[in-house]
Amino acid sequence: MSRSLFFSFFLHAFFIYLTALTLPFMLRNPIDLPPIVSVEFIEIRDETNIPYAPKARKIIEKVKKEKERVVSEQAPPADIAKEKPDRIPMPEDKKEKQELKKKKQNPEEIKPQIRQVSEFEKKELFDPNQIAALIDKAKEEQAETERKSEKLTQSNVKNSFAKGLSLSEEDALRAQIFGCWSVPLGLPFDEELLVRIKLKLKPDGTILKSEILDHARMNTPGQSFYRVLAESALRAIRICQPLKVPPTGYERWKNLQLNFDPTEMLKG
């Protein structure tokens, strides 16, 4: 009896304490935050999103590096192994594949005049040095992914726990891209104009890989403006690189999605 009384008293006290603690907060009016206006000159504070104090972090990183080695030796992550292609794709192989696809889709659509021109162009454009350069590029990219994949370990993931970019970081990035993006002016007013680009970044903010998420729409008849818009967005990213990303927390922002939408601007 006394035991149940004790429990009842304890639980009641606990709930009263909780209510006293939370109720005043509930009574407060929510703060009206004014809309954030981004400006060109933004000071990124060193403290934002840094998980630990610098000294402590150094020590933790040291310990984690040791652990990391053990983890990577034992079991390399399976999904990264998948990313490695068996061999470097030759440009010729790619061409063959593309041609096959085109033939399958609808051969009627290829106008004879245009085809002639493009064949003529291809002949002239053939340059062994360029192909060699392409292969080198592919190698370079491959090497880059490999190097990066080695870094990706469980311990490293744990290293940073903050999610997303802080407001100042996001604004810095946004302001940078604003300046680089030349918006095409012939865009229609009454169409969906959102271009989503997924980026894979290097630690220095340069672009490792970029991918347009609604790629199919680029070749849709009557949507030629979308192709132009997507290309302008890609151009903006390339002109801007290296992107203004935070100096730390690479794991957080190495995959980034940029949503380009000029609708507001065109209407305004």
Binding site: K163, P184, D190, S224, V228, R235, I239, R252, L256, L258
Partner: protein
């Protein structure tokens, strides 16, 4: 139970460390003209020499026409040729993109010219200097005197690839050429390329001509002329020069225009003292009355799908713009602003109607949506009217007159163009004074 608890705990821990993809919305950019480098076209050394023009400079001349076209749009900024590092022939084969990026070019046009067997072959390539790739490559063969047209076609292809909408460079403008003092004007039909070159006069000037308009194939022109003080509507074939009277109509006749299928002419004329809108079938010559109202209905213009007609009428007491179905039913007033509204013209895209507005003695050219909302006045002046759309619905051409003295001194009438955004107002070069312009559709479709 324990197992479930541990699995649950494991999921919570692993989700805690999973990163959601960071998404950043980019809703603004700059609207500065796109920097474009137009390299002079390389003239092939195997080219034949022609007596017509200096063939060695032909490549440079073509690039100048393209440059002028792009500059006139206000959307592009052609870069100065002095800053180009790479030679035209090498750039056409394989541009050194880093050099072009250095001068801030985002796009590059290169090309080659070859004259062989008295035929001119022009090929060009458009490069994306940032992505280091080719965007489009085409070649054209024509007779050498046609070189300006090739330059316009290249401009259209590049414009289309870079903006996503069709171009308007390979087009012509028909207008009323005016010479002589203000009270004794000689008016002729003038035809020129959209950049003011290759002017031809289609009539002699012994009769007063008004409101020329192209048909959809650009082969025929309809216009009005006064013969012994009687207004007549004519059809003129611009290639053969054959002229035909469609009909002479009593009283005041105004602004004949073709229907979008080219089979009918729509116009207004006064019968029994009342001005209404009529159509005439060009094959059967049957005239059909579209509006039947005691007020003055004038300036009809079809929507591009041919289902609607916009026109102006003073049935509300003041001249305003109305829209109706093409059979004359469901008449609806769309303008309610202060001032007079006139000369409505439906955009080739179908989304906007251009008009002239008169308020407090000033003339405005403006656009609004087809339902009358979103009115925007683009330009204001002492006297200006008769807007006509470019085939892509992006630019308007109109004419503007200057204030003159009591004896007509200082009077002039010139053609002007303006972008539908209200920017980039430009005077279009004409040999003489000019009025009543009408823009053709694209010659090479």
């Amino acid at each position: 139970m324990k197992k479930i608890f541990f699995i649950f705990l494991f999921f919570i821990i692993s989700f805690k460390n999973a990163y959601s993809l960071i998404k950043v919305d980019i809703t603004r950019g700059n609207l500065d003209p796109l920097p474009i480098a137009i390299s002079p076209l390389h003239v092939d050394s195997k080219s034949e020499k022609l007596s017509l023009f200096d063939t060695d400079k032909l490549g440079e001349e073509i690039s100048k026409v393209i440059e002028q076209n792009f500059r006139s749009t206000g959307l592009f900024n052609p870069l100065k040729k002095d800053s180009f590092v790479q030679k035209p022939d090498i750039a056409h084969l394989k541009p050194r993109f880093e050099d072009w990026r250095l001068i801030k070019a985002q796009a590059l046009i290169t090309g080659k010219v070859l004259i062989k067997n008295k035929k001119l072959k022009v090929e060009f390539r458009l490069w994306d200097t940032i992505a280091s790739k080719e965007m489009i490559a085409l070649s054209f063969t024509t007779t050498p005197p046609n070189w300006r047209r090739v330059a316009h076609i290249i401009s259209d292809k590049v414009y289309e690839r870079l903006t996503g909408e069709s171009g308007y460079f390979d087009t012509r403008i028909i207008y009323v050429s005016e010479t002589g003092p203000k009270d004794r004007r000689i008016k002729k039909l003038g035809l020129m390329d959209q950049d003011g070159y290759n002017t031809k006069y289609l009539t002699l000037g012994n009769e007063l001509v008004l409101t020329p308009r192209f048909n959809p194939t650009n082969q025929l022109v309809t216009y009005m002329s006064y013969f012994k003080n009687m207004p007549r509507v004519y059809l003129l074939d611009i290639e053969t020069g054959i002229q035909e009277v469609v009909g002479s109509f009593p009283g005041m006749t105004f602004a004949p225009r073709f229907s979008p299928d080219g089979k009918k002419i729509i116009m207004s004329f006064a019968k029994d003292g009342n001005s209404d809108i009529y159509t005439m079938d060009l094959k059967t010559r049957i005239v059909e009355k579209i509006t039947n109202h005691p007020s003055i209905d004038t300036s009809p213009s079809y929507s591009p799908d041919g289902k609607f007609i916009c026109f102006n009428s003073d049935r509300s007491g003041v001249q305003q713009i109305y829209v109706m179905r093409s059979d004359g039913t469901q008449v609806k007033r769309i303008t309610f602003g202060t001032g007079l509204y006139g000369t409505p013209v439906w955009s080739p895209r179908g989304d906007l109607i251009a008009f002239t507005k008169v308020r407090k003695g000033r003339f405005y050219i403006g656009v609004m949506r087809a339902d009358g909302t979103g009115e925007r006045l683009l330009t204001e002046n002492f006297y200006q009217e008769a807007p006509s759309w470019s085939p892509n619905g992006r630019v308007l051409i109109f004419y503007r007159e200057t204030k003159s003295g009591s004896k007509g001194e200082g009077f002039s009438a010139k053609l002007w163009s303006i972008d539908i955004t209200g920017y980039n107002e430009r005077q279009i070069k004409t040999e003489t004074d000019a009025s009543d312009p009408s823009w053709s559709s694209l010659l090479s479709k």
